[in-house]
């Protein structure tokens, strides 16, 4: 089986689906000839021609709005927003349109589009190349929201997303494109080529939306994480010496509540980790659900370790980033409670 980086895995997902289904089209800013600023679409224009993979004007509204029209026609657009930080100009088209077209037309028109976007910080990108806006989508009925944490999942989930009959927000943690990152920014990162999760089948396969994965088994506390935070959680558990169970949610909407509840009922404790700001972040929903469904099993308050409620700063990146130290502290706190 070939080893792929997350970029290669994402590209391969598009390649495979474009090859199988003529209605899949790919476009976005710098996506065509150049292959995207992160090179996720490199080679697709050469292979499938410039009417199936092309550059667009810099209008996220236009990209999403045109994709919605194409989907209504019968295509399956898989589009790129260059950074998640730049999705807001398209927010109206996503929230008021993509998410509601099936419902409001009673299924006459549907919107099978995938909106891919690099998300998260850790690259000294400052406030406009670092954001994690997932909670702004999980609040919107009609959308699905996916965050892969490794090449295998990235490919399998992206194929599921493209084949899904409904709109999917596909957030790619850019800090993981080239290897797993556990928050120790002063240490070298293992490239995916040296990591088992870099093993990705060449052809078609899928990972279902709505299924979490237990990345580390444990009995003392459940850590709910996704994207980059999965590795931070693993590192924190090791370093704090806490027998934590780490769940990689993979899909936030729909959410695999059963896996979460089973784990927390087992451990009796829960820490939620994400990079987005705290208030009204997706961690709030997770905490609300866990306390509702596991109330009588909980031995300590659910803790949230997240980005602070400030814009993402440039110089203070590592003070902002919820790294293994902060997660470890929360683990110990929850264990002592």
């Amino acid at each position: 089986m070939p080893r792929m980086t997350m970029i290669e895995a994402i590209r391969s997902a598009m390649d495979v689906t474009m090859g199988r289904d003529e209605t899949v089209v790919v476009f976005g800013e710098d996506v065509g000839y150049f292959g995207g600023v992160f090179r996720c679409t490199q080679g697709l224009q050469q292979k499938y021609g410039k009417t199936r993979c092309f550059d667009t004007p810099i209008s996220e509204l236009g990209i999403v709005g045109a994709a919605i029209g194409m989907a209504a026609y019968g295509l399956k657009p898989c589009i790129e927003v260059q950074f998640a930080d730049y999705v807001y100009p398209a927010y109206d088209q996503i929230v008021s349109e993509a998410a509601r077209i099936r419902y409001r037309s009673n299924g006459q028109f549907t919107c099978p589009i995938v909106i891919r976007m690099p998300t998260g910080g850790g690259i000294f990108g400052g406030q406009t190349h670092s954001q994690s806006p997932e909670a702004l989508f999980t609040h919107v009925s009609g959308l699905k929201v996916v965050v892969p944490s490794n090449p295998f999942d990235a490919k399998g989930l992206l194929i599921s997303a493209i084949e899904d009959p409904d709109p999917v927000i596909f957030l790619e943690p850019k800090r993981l494109y080239n290897g797993p990152f556990d928050g120790h920014h002063d240490r070298p990162v293992t490239p995916w080529s040296k990591h088992q999760l870099g093993d990705v089948p060449e052809g078609h396969f899928s990972v279902p939306l709505g299924k979490a994965e237990i990345r580390r088994e444990g009995t003392a506390v459940t850590i709910l994480a996704y994207g980059t935070m999965v590795y931070v959680a693993e590192a924190a558990a090791e370093e704090a010496g806490v027998d934590a169970e780490v769940i990689d949610l993979r899909s936030l909407l729909p959410l695999d509540l059963d896996t979460i509840v089973a784990s927390v009922k087992k451990t009796g404790r829960c820490v939620v980790v994400h990079e987005a700001t705290l208030t009204s972040g997706f961690g709030a929903e997770l905490a609300a659900l866990v306390q509702e469904h596991c109330f009588y099993h909980l031995e300590a308050p659910i803790a949230r370790v997240t980005g602070w409620d400030t814009p993402y700063p440039h110089a203070q990146e590592w003070d902002y980033f919820p790294g293994p130290r902060r997660v470890g502290e929360a683990l110990l706190e929850v264990m002592e409670a």
Partner: protein
Amino acid sequence: MSEEHKLSLHVPEPEVRPGDTPNFSNVVIPKAGSVERPPVDVDPKDIRELAYSIIRVLNRQGEAVGPWAGTLSDEELREGLRHMMTLRAFDARMQMAQRQGKTSFYMQHMGEEAVSCAFRRALEPGDMNFPTYRQAGLLIAGGYPMVEMMNQIYSNEADPLKGRQLPIMYSSKEHGFFSISGNLGTQFIQAVGWAMASAIRNDTRLAAGWIGDGSTAESDFHAALVFASTYRAPVVLNIVNNQWAISTFQGIARGGSGTFAARGLGFGIPALRVDGNDYLAVHAVAKWAAERARRNLGPTLIEYVTYRVGAHSTSDDPSAYRPKTESDAWPLGDPVIRLKNHLIVKGTWSEERHKQAEAEILDTVISAQKEAETHGTLHAGGKPSTRDMFEGVYATMPPHLRRQRQKAGV
């Protein structure tokens, strides 16, 4: 700083307000037949002046004149008249139904019937409209059953949209009518996307986008023009300038540009302005644009100059912001009367036949209404179920929504 150098803000105002005498002397109306009809493959830069003129076919005598005349047969014109009359009768009944509490909301077309009714005739089966709430003529002229429209308006048990949508927010894929959005403008770029898809698939079908004068200020309008210009999408982009956006006169959205069609000039898109109350002119221009699209020559922008005679919606009372008699002063007349007179002048119609048609149409509308009401109205009789509310958010209901439906006990 000296007085003379002080800046001041210009806030455009309509010529008249309630209490004033209506005044349309600023609306320059070229003579019918006087505007050229360029070939469809014309270079857009050679027809810039069309964005500042008004293409008209019907003259004051009711004759069809000039190079844009002659796109429809007598029979087609009589049918067109019937469509407009039907829309008007439909509007009147539904407006009344709303007043009677049979539904929550209604929006009428009074004065603008020619635009959507005539445009529809320039389309082929399979073409797709992305309409606003004021183009029900596309459905009526497209053969969509009136009963279905009423079922939607009543949110009754037979509502094709299961009670989910505000009245008049129709959707019929089969009739080339995309689901109406309550959010202004969004459909304009979607129309361009649909047209791009048709071109990507080497299809032959075109899309038509619709937007109001006021809504051209929205971002989607810009995105639509950018994408249509860049990819030469086979799309007809229609601006219905009915002079008002709720209480706001068109000068606020238009600013210093003179016309809305002019917006197209900055994109190299042919931009035409047409008498929106002239059924023949609307059809001729729509046909011209549709042919451009179908010959892969790209988009066309059309501004229909018309007037919103009625209130914005059943929630609005225009006497608060414009003279009550302004619509009578509107210089482009009434589209129904103009077409009727034309047919009479041509000898293919008469006052008697008109009266008779009026009566017949009213009968049809009333019997459709009766049928619809057997399925219920908003607050009485059959209605969509609570289950319908939970269905159709996704193709397959996800677990969290299933839990919620259970909680709701349905």
